[in-house]
């Protein structure tokens, strides 16, 4: 069945078409939900974040000018909502280069994935600072280019590359520990 383009669904949703909006949600909810899981390490928080993201996207849907892909714009909104989420949940935690605290009350949810590797990867990502985690997420899972990531995060491409470089070093260590 021929699917409508994102722009068509957005245009209809802006005119108050509920079905178009729901179709747009269904198209991206899985990606956003998994983004939430990897960014928060928690399915409950991921569900809250997903709802928060889509509410925010709907409210600012009129601001989407069609410059660039909708997916890129969606993940840009998701990133801002994720930062807000972190500020609410962990106000004492720095957002840039401070590593995530050791497992305490915010311990990543375990046992949710049947696949051990996925579980390990998610837990390893939780130990990255938010700024690096966002770059890893967008690069390896979102399949965005460095320029796109830089635009979404409001950074220079060199900064994005630098953060990924640092994140890969830490991920190597984390994954080794997890697999040990």
């Amino acid at each position: 069945m021929f699917e409508k383009r994102d722009e068509q669904l957005i245009s209809q949703a802006l005119k108050g078409n509920r079905r178009a909006w729901l179709a747009l949600i269904k198209r991206y909810e899985s990606q956003i939900y998994h983004y939430g899981i990897r960014m928060t390490g928690n399915t409950h928080d991921a569900a809250d974040l997903m709802q928060d993201i889509f509410v925010s996207v709907y409210r600012s849907l009129g601001n989407y000018r069609g410059e660039g892909s909708f997916k890129g714009w969606l993940f840009r909104v998701a990133h801002f909502r994720c930062i807000e989420f972190y500020r609410r949940k962990r106000p004492e935690q720095g957002l840039d280069d401070t590593p995530e605290p050791e497992c305490d009350q915010h311990c990543p949810e375990s046992g949710y994935f049947r696949d051990r590797a996925s579980e390990n990867l998610m837990q390893a990502m939780q130990r990255l600072p938010l700024a690096q985690k966002a770059v890893v997420e967008l690069k390896f899972f979102g399949q965005f280019t460095f320029d796109e990531i830089a635009e979404q995060l409001g950074l220079s491409a060199n900064t994005v590359k630098s953060r990924l470089y640092s994140a890969l070093s830490k991920l190597k260590l984390e994954l080794e520990v997890e697999n040990a």
Binding site: M50, L121, T145, S169
Partner: protein
Amino acid sequence: MHNPNHEHLLAKWLENSLSESERQEFESLCVHDEAFAQRVESANTMTMMAEQFEEVPVPAWDRESTFITPERSRWWQWQGLPMASMAMSALAMVMVVSGFRVDVADGRLSMGFSDAPDQQEIAAMMDRKITDYQQSNQALFTQYVDALSTQQQKNSAELTQYLLSSSRQERREDFAELVKFINEQRSDDQRFYARQINNLQQEISALEAGYSSVPPLVTPNLTDDE
């Protein structure tokens, strides 16, 4: 210590856009730089794990709650209202500062914030008002005199008519009385002359009887009716 060139090479490798010389440099680094090689290995692992990452079903959630029907704004929430209020305030201030005034003309009332009018203006206004008052009084008096004159003319005409009609009646009655009086007088005179004639007849008869024994002549009896 990060080397920007290493970051650049790794980034280009991830995006599969290495040139031939960069590829050679990249491969050389993978062989000779263990830290770089570990990062490349991590990137490879991450790429592979991302492709194999387990997809979990999205839990049921209230998608409808994200669709917020746009509320029709009330008139007091109109976006232009603050601007209109500000513009009106500025206008009011300008009116006050500039001594805004509107003249009164042809009975139309106007408002303003100017100072009180000077003496000449007051005198002119008073003159105008007095003149208007005089003119209106004059017109009223003229109208009153006209009405009074008309009423008087009407009354005089009615009186004359009455007098004419009443004198005519009186004269008619007077003539009737006169005719009646004359008729009565004539009747009295006739009676008087009849009586005189009778008396005269009787005297004549008596005289005739005294001179002769011839019985008196029978004469017709005259009555009042004759």
